[in-house]
Symmetry: C2
Subunit: 340 residues, 2 copies
């Protein structure tokens, strides 16, 4: 079976990312606290546990390496930045899982369900620190100025992440959430880290401010499009393709974009939403209300809008198309056209 | 009334520290999440709340400025490092309070009791990030290489902090804790951050590796001596001077150094400790067992040992004695001879 350019490149880069993550992690001395090390290795998906060592897809570090490569920087130079972003992402997952009281991630018990909240908060802090040290390692592959800029950028994004997360926690208990506030929330919670992933590649490749801004724009819009697409699939996604039940977000009362649109613009939906009933019949009814009042069309339009913005920025910044640039386009298309 | 040199210098430096903390904090845009900003300002002691806006003594940033000044660096150059350490310390307090389920700090409800665990974890993460950005600001007062070294050092200490905290959480549920393991724990949880405070001043003052090692040694031993002295006072402290009840650590079953010594070396104490009884009569009995078996003498000897180590390192590193060096000696004496 023929493989695509992206698949070929992924086959080379993903093992590089995994090795660099492990090397960075193993560089720290945990002889005083082996159980802390075990917690982090477990969370990263490196412990074969109950026959299962699943982890995330490492999309963010892949984006960093592709962006660096697309701008003719050696892939190896960007590895510390890529590694830092993956650790950072995983730190946020450890804390988010406590904050959302999520028992399962990647088919395994979350860190806090396995070791308790106190240990999990602390383990998250340790992983956050490991991310900070990883990005500082850019001094070895670039120089102190770039390492500093990258570390500063990473922390600006961290603050943005906590602001997004703050809004997400606050929304849980708010009866009315404006669509605009929702976009602010996902800009922080989701898009900021994707934008960090793309701009990190540009920083390592010593790009101009103008081109760094375009890379940020690309990543931000990619993140927003991806998140809103996820919101779309959470109601109208194909169960078989997606592996989770259609209308799952209606069942779990998640305040996603189409649902907030419905609450703002569709009195019938609003009324039915308030009720306790989440029978499959009622869920279908609620999904239909959303389609009828334009929530589905609005959500799709939003996905298309941010997708276009992402591709526009990417096309502007990637005037030279080497193999990494091509793979980057392919990856973006794969991410943004999953089930449409 | 005549004031000491230390008091004079504190009167100049503490307002500088407070202004720099506030300026650094206000430099971040929280327009999207004003409540998050409010939580952090509350924790820092900047919100007049229920007639009370107490905060910590800012000893750590004071140590940084005094160490920098003692080595002839301009105080202003060290401010970003000092500010970073105070934010870092406060981040650890936010998370520690959740992990220890402490309801009160500085006479006020802790962040998690006021806003819930989810918000408090996230607010701690935000403050951690703010600390990281503060230390990177050393690039403005020094250069990229020093800023990079200081940021790296800060994160090495952070990892050490989480390792100490991990052990502290683990000890809660362990029946037997070795004295050596206890020292490892407080080395991470308490002493590492004091050592960061002192070495930070030396980094800004561009000191040699040898002198940085001495500053670290000074801070580490100061931290250990201070913590073990605190353990001593937790059993034999004078209630009136200290403002907390004598033998408080026996009542709260805290595993401090004298108690671990007693559990290891005094069968009578061990037997009585296991019992539920914590009447004032029983507490006095337990304290007497500790004194009789040598726990009090051992604890005092440990305080004296680390105090001597601290002063030895300080004397070696401060061959020139300017006013900041003198104040540093005075502060160290004040910290280590509180009630002896």
């Amino acid at each position: 079976m023929q493989t695509s350019l992206l698949q070929d490149i992924q086959q080379t880069l993903l093992p590089k990312i995994e090795s660099a993550l492990k090397a960075s992690f193993e560089g720290h001395d945990f002889s005083n606290s082996p159980t802390l090390k075990q917690m982090l290795a477990y969370h990263m998906g490196w412990v074969v546990d109950e026959g299962n060592n699943q982890h995330g897809k490492r999309i963010r570090p892949l984006l960093t390496l592709l962006c660096a490569g697309a701008m003719d920087a050696p892939i190896e130079d960007a590895l510390p930045g890529a590694v830092a972003i993956e650790f950072l992402h995983n730190f946020t997952l450890i804390h988010d899982d406590i904050e959302d009281q999520s028992p399962i991630r990647h088919g395994r018990p979350t860190l806090w369900t396995k070791w308790g909240i106190a240990h999990a908060i602390n383990a998250g802090d340790a992983l956050f620190t490991i991310a900070q040290m990883a990005v500082l390692d850019l001094v070895k592959t670039t120089d102190a100025v770039i390492a500093n800029q990258a570390t500063k950028k990473l922390n600006q994004v961290c603050l943005h992440l906590t602001q997004g997360q703050h809004l997400d926690i606050a929304f849980e208990t708010e009866t009315k959430v404006e669509l605009q506030a929702y976009l602010t929330m996902i800009s922080g919670k989701t898009a900021a880290l994707v934008a960090l992933s793309t701009v990190m590649g540009g920083l390592v490749a010593r790009q101009s401010q103008n081109r760094l801004a375009l890379l940020t724009e690309y990543g931000k819009n990619l993140g927003l499009a991806f998140q809103i697409q996820d919101d779309y699939l959470g109601i109208w996604g194909d169960t078989e393709t997606l592996g989770k039940s259609t209308s799952g977000d209606i069942q779990s009362r998640k305040k996603t974009l189409p649902i907030l649109y419905g609450l703002e613009n569709c009195p019938q939906f609003q009324e039915a939403w308030q009720k306790e009933d989440r029978s499959s019949q009622q869920i279908t009814q609620l999904a239909n209300f959303l389609s009828d009042c334009g929530a589905q069309a609005h959500t799709l339009a939003q996905v298309n809008y941010y997708t276009k913005q992402a591709f526009d920025a990417l096309e502007q910044v990637l005037n030279v198309k080497n193999k990494y640039a091509q793979a980057l386009f392919e990856l973006t298309e794969t991410l943004l056209h999953r089930n449409f």
